[in-house]
């Protein structure tokens, strides 16, 4: 028998021990590599989001004095809105193009195109509608020259942000490198500039061809209304179910079935809840498609197991001595629970609920099936009821919608939307952490 280990001096580390220690070191390094990889992924993910999403918060705009001649906009001269509405956006386009051409002249920039119309690709196609709305709202502007802030086309925006280059537009039918020469000159003249993009945060979605105009504001409202539904239903139902299971239910078959059910529901893929929503709420109950109410109902069912599980943990953490004390002075079981146990468990319950809500806020898959994607969220809901019932999108669904669109300008919007979504999620999670720290009780 080899007895190498035991006979030698403790001071000599034998070969075998050296080998074992080397293995030890290697093993430890594997662990560090694993942690390192995880952190590298996290950093890569977050930095991608920030680097690619931040540009969405800037938008290129032109500040143009536009002449609004009476002969084109209101021939009658009586400023009757109904009459003025007859002039469509097509009537406004030449005015804006001319204004841009005049601005070129005024700043001594040469127009490389035959006429003012050649400059059109620099402007967003939304420009005419913006000017028209402003004129219809203030008819007295007709006949004057008013300075407007209008959006530049998304290609121009991309050029200034470095997303679009002269090379990349070589085969682009929409815009030429010559336009970018003009843009460079306009930027030097201070007519065209990037500014903070409030419209992205508060605005509505736009059609496929106008990424420069698209905003996440309306779908943010959609998400908000969904969260009202989720909070309003899942908190009371979740707490009620947990109280029953934790405080009243006796251990029997029925309770077992409910418990197994809940733990399994927590692991059902979210897309399956989407199918449930489609079949039950839309096909069977005929609730309106794409409505935040339906989205909220589906997400409620999805979040309930999470909330029940965390609520039960909070109830369990309240020591039995509290219950005994209350029962001991003659409170009923119901009074014990509602007067003592529930208030003590409340911080934990709220923490769990906030985390559940955050999960629901970021969930996308079920929303695809109940029609919250593909819907262009271009209108603000006009009231609380319509907020719940009218078709809308939701933040993650809007991001998905943008990611699917062909124009890469929408990718920037999608990343920007993610930043906003993550800011919400982060706020909610920080709130949950603060709540836990602030009210955590050690028994």
């Amino acid at each position: 028998m080899t007895d190498a280990t035991n006979t030698g001096s403790l001071y000599d580390v034998d070969a075998r021990t050296k080998k074992r220690n080397a293995a030890e070191k290697r093993f430890r390094i594997y662990g560090m590599i694993a942690i390192g990889l995880g952190l590298v992924f996290l950093v890569a993910l977050l930095s991608t989001i920030v680097v690619r999403g931040i540009p969405a918060f800037q938008q290129t705009k032109l500040t143009l004095p536009i002449a609004l001649p009476e002969e084109t906009l209101d021939k009658s001269g009586v400023r009757d809105i109904e009459v003025m509405k007859k002039v469509s956006t097509f009537g406004y386009n030449p005015l804006i193009e001319q204004a841009l051409a005049d601005a070129l002249d005024a700043n001594g920039i040469e127009n490389p195109f035959e006429d003012a119309k050649g400059l059109k690709p620099i402007l967003s196609s939304s420009a005419a509608a913006v000017v028209r709305d402003e004129v219809l709202a203030n008819p007295e502007l007709v006949g004057t020259t008013h300075t407007f802030e209008i959006l530049a086309a998304s290609r121009v925006d991309g050029y200034l942000k470095g997303r679009v280059t002269r090379e990349s537009v070589a085969r682009d039918n929409n815009i030429d490198a010559a336009h970018f020469d003009v843009v460079d000159a306009l930027r030097d003249a201070g007519i065209i500039a990037k500014g903070f993009n409030f419209d992205f945060i508060t605005g509505a979605d736009a059609s496929e061809s106008r990424p420069e105009q698209a905003g996440i504001g309306v779908s943010m409202l959609g998400s908000l209304f969904m969260m009202f539904v989720v909070l309003g239903l899942s908190l009371p139902i979740g707490v009620a179910a947990s109280i029953y299971l934790e405080e009243f239910a006796t251990q029997n078959r029925f309770t077992d079935i409910i418990e197994v059910n809940i733990s399994n529901l927590a692991a059902v893929p979210s897309i399956v809840f989407g199918i449930l929503g489609l079949a039950v709420f839309i096909q069977f109950m005929h609730l309106p498609q794409s409505a935040p109410l339906v989205g909220g109902l589906v997400l409620t069912l999805m979040t309930l197991p999470t909330i029940i599980i965390s609520t039960r943990a909070s109830l369990k953490a309240v020591p039995p001595s509290i219950r005994e004390a209350a029962l001991g002075i003659g409170a009923s079981k119901m009074q014990t629970v509602f007067h003592h146990v529930l208030p003590l468990a409340m911080p934990g319950i709220l923490t769990g609920t906030i985390i559940g809500l955050a999960q629901a806020l970021g969930e996308t898959a079920p929303l695809l099936l109940i029609g919250m994607v593909g819907y262009i969220a271009s209108n603000y809901p006009d009231g609380v009821a319509s907020g719940f019932l009218d078709p809308n999108s939701a933040m993650p669904a809007q991001i998905y919608e943008w990611a699917k669109r062909a124009d890469p300008a929408y990718y920037e919007r999608a990343w920007g939307g993610i930043i906003i979504l993550l800011v919400f999620l982060m706020t909610m999670n920080i709130l949950a952490v603060i709540l836990r720290r602030r009210f955590e009780r050690r028994w």
Binding site: M1, T2, T5, N6, V13
Partner: protein
């Protein structure tokens, strides 16, 4: 402070000393758990550490094979010499030390493996066997030394966790002797066992002293009296008295020792 600790030179044959501890201090964070302990532990002898709960006897035992290294906040000072070599010296690998100084724990802790693999685990990691036949031999020898061979020889593939408490503890002792240690440390090895299993384990300890230096921590004075030749009494982190077991139990020098063995403190 020094008054609390006796100088233990009573009848110690220098050649026979296995462990010798000098001015050992152990700290758990800010807590000074072991204070100025000096003791010489003899070879081929059973030494019992007794004292009330929290007196530091287990802590001191765990510093003899550097098990305290696994507790991050624990710090050991002073010299602990094994055969004249400082076990806390930087070049000493605790892995090698623990192969020489085996340990048996309070609660039987067989691994969730077969009985065979439980015993073979130590020889395997230390590379004590060159082939399967040798390993089989070591396993059998160890199980015999652990006085459990006859009970398990037909079911070596059964899980070690399936044995009774007393069998599990003897399995753990067999597992500890399988690595051919020179010292066996036992931390209250019978506290989780019933009286019959306790008797079996005590009998085994008596046999083991022929080959090893055995150090046993116990809170049972009767057990110390039954199995040990030397007894050390710890109180509040101090080694109060260390002497022949018979002397400690019949004629203690320190009043605290007397109070403890007569049951007035404990």
């Amino acid at each position: 402070m020094m008054k609390d600790n006796v100088e233990n030179k009573v009848g110690v044959d220098a050649m026979n000393v296995k462990f010798s501890a000098r001015d050992v201090q152990v700290y758990y964070g800010d807590n000074h758990a072991i204070k100025d302990v000096n003791v010489d532990i003899l070879d081929k002898t059973v030494t019992a550490f007794i004292g009330p709960s929290g007196c530091g006897k287990s802590t001191f035992l765990r510093s003899l094979n550097r098990m305290n290294d696994t507790i991050p906040i624990c710090r050991v000072e002073g010299d602990i010499l094994l055969d004249g070599e400082d076990i806390n010296a930087p070049q000493v690998d605790p892995v090698q030390l623990r192969a020489k100084v085996g340990m048996v724990f309070q609660k039987p802790n067989p691994f969730p493996k077969s009985i065979y693999d439980n015993i073979a685990y130590g020889p395997r990691i230390h590379g004590l066997a060159r082939n399967k036949a040798e390993l089989d031999e070591i396993v059998e020898k160890s199980l015999r030394r652990g006085a459990i061979w006859d009970e398990v020889k037909d079911r070596l593939d059964a899980p070690g966790t399936g044995l009774s408490g007393g069998q599990q503890q003897r399995l753990c002792i067999a597992r500890a002797v399988a690595t051919e240690p020179e010292v066996l440390l036992m931390d209250e090895p019978c506290s989780a066992l019933d009286p019959i299993a306790t008797a079996q384990v005590e009998e085994l300890i008596d046999e083991l002293k022929a080959s090893y230096s055995v150090v046993i921590v116990t809170h049972s004075m009767q057990q110390a009296a039954r199995v040990s030749q030397k007894t050390a009494f710890f109180h509040l982190g101090n080694l109060v008295e260390y002497d022949d077991t018979t002397t400690i139990f019949t004629n203690p020098r320190d009043t605290r020792t007397e109070s403890y063995i007569t049951g007035r403190i404990g």
